[in-house]
Each structure stands twice: as C-alpha cells, then as structure tokens.
Amino acid sequence: MSFVKAAHAGRARSIILLLAAFVSAAMMALAWIDVARTRAQEAADAAERVEHLAIAIGTDLDRGFASIDVALGVIVERVTEPGTDILRHLPALVWFLHSIEGHLAGLQGIGLVDADGNVRVDTAPGVGARANVAHRRYYTDHRARSDAGLVIDGPIATADGTELMVFAQRLPARDGSFDGIARAAVTTDRLRALLARAAGADDPAVAATLLRDDGTIVMRTGRARATGLAAVPAEHPLRRAIAAAARGPLALADPVDDVARLTGFYRLRGQPFTLVVGVDRAATTERTAGAIVRDAVGVLLGVAAIAALAWWLIRAFGESARLAARLAVSEARFRDFAAASSDWHWEQDADLRFTFVSDVGGATFRGDLARDLYGKTRREANAPYASAADWARHEADLAARRAFRDFRLRRPARDGRICTVAINGVPIFDAAAGFKGYRGTGTDITRLVEIEEAKRTLEVELQQSQKLESLGTLAGGIAHDFNNALVPILALAQTWAKRADPDSRLQQDMTRVVAAARHSRDIVRKILAFSRREEGTLEPIDLAACVGEAVSLARLGVPPDIALAERYDGALTVLADRSQIVQIVTNMVANAVHAIAGSGSIAVAVALAGERERAAHDLAAGGPLALLRIADSGCGMDGATMARIFEPYFTTKPVGVGTGLGLAAVHGIVARHRGQIRVDSAPGAGTAFSIYLPLAVETRQAA
C-alpha cells in the first residue's frame, strides 16, 4: 500500500514537475517568440528610419544643388540669349552674379569660363582673370560632350586649404558649339553643415556620407568624421551595393570606421553621387530584448499556478515595450523629417489659435516665430506682414474651411532682413465631420523670391539695352547713307556759292544750304556716336582733369544766373576716349541749363564711387568705379519721361531746340566705356545723372 501510495505520490510529483517543466518550456518559447517578433519589428522600423533619413537628406541635397543649377541656368540663358554680347553686358552680368551669390548663402563665387578654359569673370575675390581651368573635370566633361548637364566636381583643394565643390553648366555658342561654362563654387564646409544639420549632428547613431561614383568621399558626418580616408575601394561591399543600384537598407560595415550599420542609399538626381546613410541599431534593440529575456527568466522561476497570469503579464509587458520602442522610432523619424526639411510644421485649434509650431532651431527667425505664435491666430501674430487684401482673401479661405496654398508673409528676421515665407494649410475634421482646426507647413522662400526679382530687374535692363542697341544699328545704317548723301549737297552748295556773284540771291541761298548741310552732318555724327560705330581709341586718362577741361568749355554756354559748381576728389584713371567724355559733359551741362528756368545751380563732381552709391544704384560689388555726377536744380522729370530719355529722338525740348540725340549718344558712349548710367529725378526736385566708369588697372593696384 505504502508502495502504491508512494508510487502515486511519486507519479503526481512527476506530473507536477513535468507540468512545471512543460509550462516553463512553453513560457520560454513564448518569450523567445516575443523577442524574435520584437526584433523583427524593430529591424523593420530601423530599416524604415534609414530609408526615410536617406530620402530626407538626399532630397535636401537635391534641392540645394537644384537651386545652384537654377542660378547657373539663369546665367546661361542670359549669356547665350541671341544678340547678347557677353562683354558688352559684363557690368550688368557681374551685378547679376553678385546678386545671386548673395541669395545663395555659402557660395564662394560664380563665374564664366571661356571655350579655352580661361576664367573671364568670377565674383570670388582673388580669382584672377588669368586663371585657366582647362584641366578640371567640370571643364573637360562639358568640352567632351554637349549633354553633360549640371556637372559637379570636387572636392577640389584650393591654395588656402579650403575645399570646394564646383558646379558647372555649359555655355553653348549661337551655333550650338561649346563656348565655355558657367560655374559656381561652394565650400565643402558649407555642404557638410547642410549634411550635418539634416542628419542630426548630435545623434551619434547616424553617419551620413556623400560618395562620388569613383569612390571619392565628398563629405562625411557622424562619429568617424575625421578619419582621413579619401576614397572607398571599388571592392568594398558598399561600392558594390551602389554599383548594383541598391536602395537598401542593407547591413554593411561602414568603410570609414568599420562599424556595422543599417545602411540606406539615395541617388542624387542626375548626378554621379550617392548619399549613404548608416544608423547604428544596437542600442535600442538590445535594451528591449534584454528586458524581455529577464522577464521570461523570472516567470520560469515562478509558480506554475500563476503561469497563465505571468504569461499574460509577459505578453502585456512585451507589447507595451514594443509599443514604446516603436513610438521612439516613430518620434525619431519625425524629428529627422523636421530637422532635414527646411520647412516647418504648425497646427491650430478650432479657434485658429496656434497649438503647435515645429522647432527648427538655428534658422534665422523661426525660434522667435514659435514663441510669438502660441495662443494667437495667424493674423494676430503677423498682421503687418501681408496686405489687407491678402488677409481678406486668406480669411475667406479659413472661414470656408478651405485648404490654402502659398499664402505669403514678408516678416523681418532676427538680423533685420525681410524674409518671405509661404504658408500651406489644410483643415482638420474629426470623425463626425466637426472642424478641429488647421494643420500645415511653412517654407522660407526668401531666396527664391529674391532670385526672381533679380532676374526680372536684369530682364528689364537687358531689354532696355537691346532696344537701344537695335535702334543704334538702324541709326548707324541711316547715318552712313546720310553721310554719303550730304557729300554732293555740301560740295555743290559750296561750289555754287563761290561761283555766284557776291551778295546775289543765289550766293545767299547757297550759303544757307551749306549751313543746313553742316547742321545735318553734326546730327549724323551724334547718331553715329550713339550707334557706337564710330570708335576712337580708349586710353588711360585722368577723369577729373578731363571733366575739368570739359566743364570750362561747357561753362561758355551757361547763363550768368545759373551757378556751376565743380568738385574733384583727386585723380582717377579710367580707360576712356577723351573727346567722348567731353561730349558727355557738354551734353549733360546743356541739358541741365535747359532744365533750369531762370536761376538755379548745376553741380559737377568726380569721385570714387562709395558703398552708398553702389547700394543706392544697384551696382555690382566688382572692381572700383569712378563716379561722374552731374546734378541740376531744374524742373526734374516723372517716371514715364525717365524711362525714355535714352531713346534716340526722344526730347522734351521744343521742336527745333533739341534733336533728342544728346542723351542717346551719352548712353552709347557710356556703354562703350563699359560703364553704367543712373538717373535720379522727380518732378520739381531736379535731376542727377550718375555715370560709373571702371577704374583702369594701374589705379586699382595703386589703391
């Protein structure tokens, strides 16, 4: 019996033990399944994060490169426009290059290179006109083929240790052949900063690398920034993955620091560059997995009776740990997006008051913006920054709960610059179709707007100069025929005046014909000056001395009740045609006299153009310029008159007094001297002409 009892007891214990073992094994298995599921989930999340990071940073780089491409495209378009003589338009072009450069912060310089590789113009200081870049890839690529598109070359080390990326586009000649390139240089520091910002510079788990197809490491962020590795060998798995057009994410050893990372790829649009983004995933995954294993072991040591409870607990804990991990990944993803994008995000409640504005620190004005916005409506925070009409249109959209796009505000940034931002928004509704507010994005479009404006200004200037140029060509042809036609008129009239009896009617009339023919000859000479067909030689002259002589001539035609003041700030050497400078001064002084009814004053001044004039007159920040200024206290003119004063035959003087050729000739002369002319005037407020001529080289060196 006792044996039987004992046997029973032993069997029961065995069953309990077996049961316990079975339950434990089941628990272990379940726990491990959980761990495996979590790992798989996390791997998927990490893969997604890598993929998204690569796209976010890559598109930002694309966008940065595209804006440089657009700038170069505008230049190419300008330079290759039919009838555009690059050298003739150089002042306007240099000005335009500088204005673009200002908008694309971080550009080292923009320039033009001719078909032989000689740098013709560059806005970067210290880039000499003598530099030749015929050995550079960005030149040879374009030279070799006409469809190279935007060529990006670099990094190129400069003499002062800076590294540059050079962007280049082809300049086609009129017949389509190679005529040189337009290029823009950006320091790699600047691109690296872009990369670092996008990758989240403070996140040690992210490493971003920009690789050229030949393996060159163009840029690198992340932990192993300064390893000195210049290129990734062709046999490295990373290179093979790129060659196979892998999109990732793949687990790869980073060629720079040999750390295994989950690696994503982004192929830059139309360029031989690939962005490689690697993320360490060890940290988070191991932590969660460790917690789950510890829980599983605890359960194993527990009582079988609470196995079900424990099992449920583990499930629940595992689920929440998994959820927390996923949430963290998702948060990281959105942080990546916010940091990588140059846009920001906002939300408003049903009262249209801001409840959220994404923090995109480091930007010029957005930090202030976020603080200012919470609790306010957009109009309360921004009322002065859009016109009343724009606000009315915008608020009509809001009242109708419509989505809106490209609502523009012009608000001052921290540094006082005016920024243009474009706001997009969509209404949010709950499940019951109740209005919950708005949500949307904001974009700083200042650069875009400024480039558009610079382009428009340049277009107006080019149109004006092309219009005058074609008029000049026409005038030149007519002048030629008139010169011929005047030969017999003048010669025959003079001959018959000599042959006729003295004081006879015939002699008197022939003398009148001679006078009329001479007058016509003078008009034709003015037309020729305007059409720039009549070219004297340009030689170094002292502008101040030359203008001084001209004023002493012009003074003869100034009535006594008009004061003529002169001011010369030292000698300024310019390359000029002395007789044409005299013509400018005599013409302008004559015009000033005409503009003054009764008494008044005329001021002639020659000086070095200062920053104030350059800014006020939109001049390029190029070489030094001499300023010849002729101002009068006369009647002034309105905008419509000002727009036409340089057209041939446009005159405000009575018929018979003015030919309408004086200022047209001045315009031609100034253009021939590669100078620029600006007019400041208003009705009743007098007129000031400012003529800017580039200083000759020797003066520049002496300065």
Binding site: A485, V487, A491, L528, E534, G536, S579, Q580, T586
Partner: protein, 147 residues
C-alpha cells in the same frame, strides 16, 4: 593741273567732286567700282586717286591693294562715310596712303587733303581731333590713329 580718278558708286558724289576739282583746274576721271577703276587706270594715266572705302564690288582696302599693284606710288586719298572696321592688314595697306576724309567734308578739306596726299605731306587731322562746343567731333575713324 592734276588728272584725278574719282572712285565712288554714287554718281551724285562723283559729279560734285568733279565740279570742285574742275574749279581748281584739275582734270577728272570717274569710276563707279573697283573693277572699272582698274580698267580706267589700264588705259589712261592718273596723278591721284580719290576712292570711297566701300565699293559695290570690292572692299576699299582690296581696291587700294589692286591699284598699288598696278600703279605703284600713285597717291591715294580715301573717303569714308564712317562705318567700317579697320583690320590690322588693312592698316598696313594704308601705311603708304594719304589722308582719310570723313564724309561729308568741306570743299576746302578735300582740296587740302588732295594737295597733302599728292605732295606726300604727313597726314594730320585738324578736323577730327579737337572737339568744339556745340558740334563736338566724335572721333571719326582717323587714319592718323592707325599709322
């Protein structure tokens, strides 16, 4: 008395110059083109040539070269209506040539220029250099600047 060949495609110009020169006692030959001028020089002698820089059949510089080849040492006075570019080789051709007259010119300018050219006096351009108030000279293409 000189025998002067006038080369210009415009008959009105040739007629006017003929009148001026005949009043000075010169004899005048006329040609409307470079080819006609060379033909004339082939059958008649001339003491001087006055030619426009733009002719219907050949450029002024080519005409001058051809005349030089046919009649070395013949004085040549050139006229221009102010619209052509001088190439360096054209300037070389001109090195032995007299004044360049900018059309239209005073009869006295023509007479003086012809006299200077025939007598190989150094070219000067009083009418082209000094600007005067009211009618400033605009730096017409001046042979003197190229020599």
């Amino acid at each position: 008395m000189l025998r002067v060949l006038i080369i210009d495609q415009d008959p009105m110009v040739r007629y006017a110059l003929r009148l001026v020169l005949e009043d000075q006692g010169h004899a005048v030959l006329e040609a409307a083109s470079g080819a006609a001028a060379l033909a004339t020089l082939g059958r008649a002698t001339a003491d001087a040539v006055i030619t426009d820089m733009i002719l219907p059949d050949m450029k002024g510089a080519a005409t001058i070269r051809a005349i030089r080849a046919q009649a070395p040492g013949l004085p040549i006075l050139t006229m221009s209506s102010g619209q052509h570019a001088f190439a360096p080789d054209a300037a070389r051709d001109f090195a032995a040539v007299g004044d360049l007259l900018a059309k239209p010119f005073e009869t006295d300018e023509l007479i003086d220029a012809l006299a200077r050219t025939v007598h190989r006096q150094p070219a000067s351009m009083p009418a082209l250099g000094a600007p005067a108030l009211g009618a400033p000279a605009l730096g017409a293409p001046a042979f003197g600047a190229l020599a």
